[in-house]
């Protein structure tokens, strides 16, 4: 009986998890291409632009992505043996890229030409924190300063 439940959960997890992941990656890649023109950098120095005033604004994006039962099961087995836990890689990759994309979307919305000092924070959200090995889901927060061009500066007053 127990084994039937386990197999059902594994099958569900595998089928839906893989499908969701493929779909998500496709959408991430598409949007990344669309936003490719907007640079996101970890540098903190604002660009030297003297013809315009600069508007800066904090932008952020977050995403909470859950792992599926299949991957979690395989990962727990992997943790018994040690080594690369490749099962979680796609989870974190998806969450980071999704969060960064959401930040970029916001920046684009504000007509920014660059996002400076981009930072990425990851926190694990487990449904039951009592259990040692339970990474249920991860939240990734991406934030940075979106810089956009303001009014044109009259050269005779300021240079």
């Amino acid at each position: 009986m127990e084994i039937i439940i386990l197999l059902t959960l594994l099958a569900f997890g595998y089928f839906f998890g893989q499908r969701a992941e493929k779909k998500h990656f496709k959408s991430i890649i598409d949007r990344e291409k669309a936003y490719l023109k907007l640079p996101v950098v970890t540098m903190r120095t604002p660009p030297a632009i003297h013809q315009h005033t600069l508007n800066s604004e904090l932008v952020a994006g977050n995403a909470v992505i859950s792992i599926d039962f299949f991957k979690k099961f395989v990962a727990s087995l992997k943790m018994l043996f040690g080594g690369h836990v490749t099962q979680y890689e796609s989870l974190l990759d998806r969450a980071r890229r999704e969060a960064l994309l959401r930040m970029k979307e916001q920046a684009q919305h504000k007509n920014a030409f660059v996002v400076l000092n981009a930072r990425v924070e990851t926190a694990s959200i487990s449904k039951n924190s009592k259990r040692r090995n339970s990474v249920g889901a991860v939240e990734v927060l991406a934030y940075g300063t979106a810089v956009s061009l303001g009014d044109k500066i009259k050269n005779e007053i300021n240079s």
């Binding site: 959960l9 569900f12 997890g13 839906f16 998890g17 969701a20 992941e21 998500h24 903190r44 604002p46 660009p47 632009i49 315009h52 005033t53 600069l54 800066s56 604004e57 904090l58 952020a60 977050n62 995403a63 909470v64 992505i65 859950s66 792992i67 599926d68 039962f69 299949f70 991957k71 979690k72 999704e98 400076l116 000092n117 930072r119 924070e121 926190a123 694990s124 959200i125 487990s126 449904k127 039951n128 924190s129 009592k130 249920g136 889901a137 939240e139 927060l141 934030y143 940075g144 300063t145 810089v147 303001g150």
Partner: protein
């Protein structure tokens, strides 16, 4: 209020600073949402309700930080940082901090 995680405000001059300002919220997950999240743990995928909840809470922490800065007479907060930590089972603290400054507009 001007918010940035840079050390200065691009194109503007900082004339005065008021020290550290901070804001936090601790949020627990909603039972109903938690149940759906439990289901999602089988199928995988984005937990939309959590994403929203955390974004909202983070906004609340940011608002509190802004309130502090406003009370000091600042018009900008620079070098903002966010951090998330789980303080208890099922509850998370969202924390925002930065330096309140006055810039020449």
């Amino acid at each position: 209020m001007l918010l940035t995680n840079l050390e200065q405000v691009p194109g503007k001059k900082i004339v005065q600073h008021f020290g550290l300002v901070q804001g936090n919220t601790i949020r627990a997950k909603h039972v109903g949402k938690d149940f759906l999240a439990g289901l999602k743990n089988i199928f995988g995928g984005e937990l939309g309700a959590y994403t929203e909840l955390l974004a909202e809470s983070r906004q609340e922490a940011t608002d509190r930080m802004i309130q502090q800065a406003q009370s000091m007479g600042a018009n900008a907060i620079v070098n903002i940082r966010y951090s998330t930590s789980s303080v208890a089972q099922g509850a998370a603290e969202l924390y925002a901090y930065g330096t309140a400054v006055k810039v020449e507009l």
